[in-house]
Amino acid sequence: MYISSEFLHYGAIATSIGISSVSVGLGQGMISWSALNAINRQPAAQDDVMRVAIIGMTLVETVAILGLLISIFLLVYTTLDPHACFSHYAKIGIIAAMGITSFVTGLASAFPAQAACNAVARQPFFTHRISGFMLMTQVLIQTPLISSFLVSLFIQGQADSATTLTDSLRLIASGMCVGIGSIGPAIGLSIFSKAALNSLGKNSKAYNKLLSFTFISEALIETPIIFCLIIAIILLFMIPHTSTDNPISGIIFLAAGLCSGLGTLGTGISSGATAAAACTQIGLAPESYNILSRTSLLAQSLIETVVLYTVILSLLMILFR
């Protein structure tokens, strides 16, 4: 099948803004749905619920803004040369990185805002703390988007100098690594922050304990994304440039990127679910915080060794190709 290079170029532009705006639309719809539900349950807290919902929607909208920025960069800073097909194949990397990540993070950062609306309806006198907590979790959920934004910018910067199939496969691999790698941790983060805000709504006295537990757990759940970012940056910058075309090493790059990307999938979700269960229990029984947090951290650090195996394997693949 013949794919024209213009198709890929404009396809990357359309995917970046299109998918991010679809996910932002869905996320904002979910937030307003649960805000209306919360107002229905507690009409006296109407102002507080509205304020929290609007803060949440504004933060979800940063996903669309980053997608728009990438689209504008692609549209303005590219000289369209129909003969340079390899530099356009590299745009598949941008499609994977921005498309997947913006879809997942846009939906995932809506969940804590939904839970925050319900929590405010339960405890209207605690709105200030709940909105601060929600803001922090949403910002932490959107860090994978920042990493894939960076990788997309780097791919765009290197796409013009890609003259062989190996180069374009390398750029696609780095984009796929970040894109697929952000699915699992983003889902895990959304599960965890939803549970944390729910338990904050049920028991506001556990605020201090939940806050410190949230900081450390979200840092642990997010670690697989960082490993993927390292692999992507190694693929982007640490490979010595060769002018001879060798598609086998390009396929090895693709396999390495997919390996570390897919490795984070189960780890992120299960790590998030573990921390979420611990968070629910802390909300129910804050006095047994020590044993709960110790068990949860232990389980999470054991779960995360699996990611290390995939990361080490992909490093070995890149080094001994």
């Binding site: 910002v139 920042i146 990493s147 960076l150 910018l153 780097f154 765009q156 910067g157 290197q158 900081f215 450390i216 840092a219 642990l220 670690t223 960082i226 490993f227 970012l229 390292i230 940056i233 982007l236 910058f237 640490m238 915080y289 020590n290 044993i291 947090s293 110790r294 951290l297 232990l298 650090s301 054991l302 995360e304 060794t305 290390l308 195996y309 990361v311 080490i312």
Partner: protein, 244 residues
């Protein structure tokens, strides 16, 4: 937008003195080493000032007591009991890493933890501390027997599982700080040179937000996570029959 110059670090090469000019083993990242020594000097000055000056004021004493009691609580919480040497080890790791991570706030200084060698060294230090404590507490026989659990064939997997704690703890720190450093360098590289963009970034608070999140917040959080994970691994290692 080509970020290759961010990753390269200036190096001293001692290889030509010994006769191996191309051997990367004899290269030292000069910037990182000098900056680590400057940070250690700062740490020494801070310690001296706390010991001789701030100790006598009410405010200094208050901060000191809060800091120490925070780490005593942390040790109790993650180990289940209080051990003085573990608390001192974790808190000194925290202070050093926190200073290293936020070093880019000081002009002409970069984060030494941006380099993988620094974080690997820290990870190896904590690994050997944990293993020696584990041997001391449980005895050498019980320690070695743990490698053959549940079957004899699991020996290589158990060894890899033990060693992977070094990689996990040090790559986590390195990746976070490195990513943050790249993002801040890229941002300031973009706004550098255009007066309008620089003024906009300065007065709209975007500069401050980026520095506050990626340097202060992320740096302190990662230092805390490093200390906390060391304590968690300690609690696994000292328990009877604890797996990896």
């Amino acid at each position: 937008m080509n970020g290759a110059e961010i990753i390269e670090t200036p190096q001293w090469s001692f290889g030509s003195l010994i006769g191996h000019p191309d051997n990367p083993l004899f290269n030292i990242n000069s910037e990182i080493v000098i900056h680590t020594w400057i940070i250690m000097l700062l740490l020494a000055i801070m310690l001296a000032s706390v010991k001789f000056l701030l100790h006598h004021t009410a405010m200094g004493r208050f901060i000191l007591i809060r800091f120490v009691s925070f780490f005593i609580d942390l040790t109790k919480q993650s180990l289940g009991f209080f051990v003085f040497s573990h608390c001192v080890f974790a808190s000194s790791l925290f202070i050093f890493i926190a200073l290293c991570n936020t070093a880019s706030l000081i002009p002409w200084l970069d984060e030494p933890t941006r380099d993988l060698n620094t974080t690997l060294a820290l990870g190896i230090i904590s690994f050997f501390y944990i293993q020696s404590v584990s041997i001391q507490v449980r005895g050498i026989g019980s320690y070695i027997k743990d490698f053959f659990q549940p079957f004899f064939i699991m020996l290589p997997l158990n060894i890899i599982g033990k060693l992977s704690s070094i990689v996990s703890i040090s790559f986590r720190l390195f990746g976070n700080i490195f990513g943050g450093a790249i993002i801040t360098k890229l941002y300031f590289g973009v706004i550098h040179g255009s007066l309008i963009l620089e003024l906009f970034g300065l007065f709209s608070g975007i500069n401050f937000l980026i520095i506050a999140f990626f340097t202060l917040f992320e740096g302190l959080l990662q230092a805390f996570v490093f200390a906390m994970l060391t304590l968690t691994y300690l609690s696994i290692g000292t328990q009877e029959g604890g797996g990896h």
